[in-house]
Symmetry: C2
Subunit: 373 residues, 2 copies
Amino acid sequence: MGADSVGVVNTQTVRLFDSANPLRLESGAELSPVDVAYETYGTLNADRSNAIFICHALTGDAHAAGWHLGDKHPGWWDTMIGPGKPVDTNRFYVIVPNLLGGCQGTTGPASPRGGDGPAYGLDFPILMMDDLVRVHRALMAYLGVERLYAAMGGSLGGMQVLQWALETPEQMERAIVIAASSRLTAQNIAFSAVARKAIMSDPGFRGGRYAQEGDNPDTGLATARMLAHITYLSEDALSEKFGREPQFSESNPGFGVDFAVESYLDYQGESFVERFDALSYLYLTRVMDYFDPLGSDNATDAIGANPVNWLLISFDTDWRFGDEHTRRILRALERAEQPVTYRMVPSKWGHDSFLLEVPRYLETVEAFLGRPL
Amino acid sequence: MGADSVGVVNTQTVRLFDSANPLRLESGAELSPVDVAYETYGTLNADRSNAIFICHALTGDAHAAGWHLGDKHPGWWDTMIGPGKPVDTNRFYVIVPNLLGGCQGTTGPASPRGGDGPAYGLDFPILMMDDLVRVHRALMAYLGVERLYAAMGGSLGGMQVLQWALETPEQMERAIVIAASSRLTAQNIAFSAVARKAIMSDPGFRGGRYAQEGDNPDTGLATARMLAHITYLSEDALSEKFGREPQFSESNPGFGVDFAVESYLDYQGESFVERFDALSYLYLTRVMDYFDPLGSDNATDAIGANPVNWLLISFDTDWRFGDEHTRRILRALERAEQPVTYRMVPSKWGHDSFLLEVPRYLETVEAFLGRPL
């Protein structure tokens, strides 16, 4: 355990919506109960002004920092969150939930219907970005926070922050949107469509009823992950990590794992299915496909009346949600006369940079959070 | 039928290797019989000096130009080959075979073992680029051609030309290598690895014995094609063609085909399985993975003694085998003091540009073929 870690932490769970108070979704459907798994680090100060809300990406969870007992690795954003780190837990109270539709403790399509039935499967309602944010708001209220010092996230996490800030900007002083998009391209959608096809065409998917029927679409889910993982890294990063190194004897070629990069992808796929649910993958990728919060004329009306201090970060080698995605957000915020800081950070690792120890990136976040308004 | 087409053509088939004269493969294995499907256009002149040999790409076939009776579309390179076209059939004699390991008439893993047994399946020997070229040489000899006016091809086709010219440069005056690579990157290999996984994990694959067992891995093959197809087009081309146009009602979202780009990919996948074999996909993608003809110190010794006139073409938006792949070949040829013409052609369509009507590209090929040595 690192000396600069928040130490041993536990994931909590709270029921935020029930049959008496169901979650009303953007689609008009109602969902209950909704349980939310979350972690917090640091201490909420007396005037409740030091809360930072972390929104995780597609396959993240509530365990962003510190260690669960027995863990081999700390939380997924331990480089960012901890004592003396950019999100300094000596100063800030940090809230990290698992998102709605997820599979790490928060209600999602693999959860029991109505709290005690069989898994929802494909009967789980279609989610939109705003639905994820509604649950975030409920958690924030439950924890006694009315206004956030900052909301922040990368990739799908940044998209949640964008949605949230555009809709109820009075709830946050700062919004940090990292390697995100306001609008997926046809290529972005296409990659997710192929990943979903791999999942849904796995016979073990059984029309989404795999849990009830004792089966699983692990092969399809692993294929989806392998494909997505290629898009998370820059071509140069993959070359630098693996080149064309043969994994096994070149004298016995075939259709197994002949190159190191194949072994790496296989491992990514296999380890992913141990921690993630195929239905969550379907629902959450669709949330991203549909997302287009700047598509309407009045998209920035709310922030016009309640400015938020924005930090937008892209990475120069990110080809999943590259700099042009961030600049599209930037242009809309500038038109709305928002105070916005924009940085394209050089990093060779591609989209995954937002999870990695990239000094200029971490310093940028630290400076932004430390700067008085 | 276009007035500038070679007209109605037929695919021929010839047995080039048999049990008395088996094909000796790079791996040491022997293969027989080897039948080759091919088409020719134009007329071989008296001194047999006007032959152009076309090598096709991963999913191409011998039908490059003109029309088969009943066809809705002409051959796959009808923009390039025909009367008055860059490969002018009034002037040149054009030879186009289906490649070894393919599934359009030439012997491949779906062919009957020994000519009359069950399909080879995964017992088909692993192929290397040189094996494909050995069969090309045999076809050329069969057709009475000792030296080619030019060999040309795009993508995997260009890789065959590169291998051929490096090994027996005395067999060609000109080599045209388009949107090709001398050495796949880790990312290139990774995309193919995921495509192969989709095929091999389809239960219908049945360990490669699907033909005998009356099954098929069409779903996996369609997924593989959808994935590959994303990499054949530039991100801008996909955006321009499809944007984020919804395909069906936005009021009824789900996991089917909600965006036009999804419908397009579905169509690509479904139409592909009607014309292509999953085992050929495995074998031919592996040929590309292993390809590295410039990796040895003596790679260019043969062309040093027998210079070939080279034309190397890349497309600026190609992100599968982009310009850096072509420039790697260029540097090796320049070090070997070869006469080489290099062009990076602007085209918004990405890798697929080599198959499309891109005027500057077609003009470049025409000028190169028309130029006296």
